[in-house]
Symmetry: C2
Subunit: 236 residues, 2 copies
Amino acid sequence: MGEPVYFKIANELRKGIFEGKFNPGDLMPSENELASSFNSSRVTTRKSLGILENEGLIAAWHGKGYFVQTPEHNKYTMYFEEHNPAFKSKIQKVTVVKPTDEVKNALSLKEGQKVVLIRRIVLNDDIPVACDEKYIPYNRGDPLVETEIQYADFPEIVAAKSSPFAIQTDMEIGFEVASANLSVALSCRQEEPLLVTYRYIINHYGIKVGFEKMYMRKAYGRLRAHSGYSFVGKRK
Amino acid sequence: MGEPVYFKIANELRKGIFEGKFNPGDLMPSENELASSFNSSRVTTRKSLGILENEGLIAAWHGKGYFVQTPEHNKYTMYFEEHNPAFKSKIQKVTVVKPTDEVKNALSLKEGQKVVLIRRIVLNDDIPVACDEKYIPYNRGDPLVETEIQYADFPEIVAAKSSPFAIQTDMEIGFEVASANLSVALSCRQEEPLLVTYRYIINHYGIKVGFEKMYMRKAYGRLRAHSGYSFVGKRK
DNA sequence: CGTTATTTGTGCGTATGTATA
DNA sequence: CTATACATACGCACAAATAAC
């Protein structure tokens, strides 16, 4: 039936924090105090406190107690969908090329090392709204990956051999103006400003195994991120 | 002395996942199996599994077991520092103005409602690299907030009365070209492209209590985000 | 400076409930 | 119906950090 006890206690305490009964910097009542006031065991109360600790609302100090934290209003979560379901996309070309300085730098390439370039165009009603350039170091005999890249995400592809967990991605967000080359691909005027994401795929040895630039026109829309707590009755 | 038992077990299992011994979709050994193979109790083993569950590596299914998850390569964490320590900033003006349509929309304002506009300039060696416009609904008699805004973060200020936890911020990232007005403030040429973040501060009733636009020139640098796991020997 | 009370951290045992196959 | 697996909850003991005396 109903909610478990540790859940009720956690909700109660969380409510207290949200309503200002407990404020950042405050010391929460001790485990034993809470246990007796909620008529439960210390173990159960600990579990409730563990939940709040996990949510970042409180932090435990050995020998002192649980302190209410100051929320991190500058921490944002962003979902970056490579394959935006609102749009169609198609691979424009897959080629082996000599890398530009930017790409050479991004992938820490040795002199003479070539890269596979995969260019994808994102379309809204046949009008290009974004363009995607992926770079992977190329060695003679490597298979090209045009089919997978259409459906799977870039990080998973470049690290297909290793565990999907052992990959990290660093992203940068900036803007550029369309080059001659790009203005053709996006059928836009040259010098049109574009929102650009730069993604560096890093394997578990710390080696950069992939680099991607995505150019987005205004019609593609803005990127979205979110900051804040949302633990209202969260239960599976 | 050393690490606690539950920590060792968690590290062992995490290593197994990273090395591909357990792969996404796989069922982990049961709690009892792990407990006996690690010569510990079921409770301790549960704690280890709870850690990995928290990290998103595995998920528990009641009656079935723990399944190894597929990592979310599209989830990014971004720290957006309002007051970048690399730069100086100064408040340029604080005024009560009639809102533009964009601001009226962002704050869901009624007709005739005025707003406080706070404009801040971010400087690198006295050269403007970014500009910040904050909007707060204004009611007659409200105190202006120019002093606080210099040091504290926007979300905390607009919701100073309520609990700092009860605030959420939605962010959008896009670009614009400098208007006549902005080109003066940033001493840049008109039509210069600018990276723009739009932030909507929302209180716990779901009401938008603040809106901010930040315009960044190329010299300000790119925004940064990160995706992936990093649990190597994490312990306080 | 040690002693002591308080508080959290670690770990085990046990019992019972409930979902799954 | 039964065996297995996770979920909840209590009790206990001892370790370790902290603060006040």
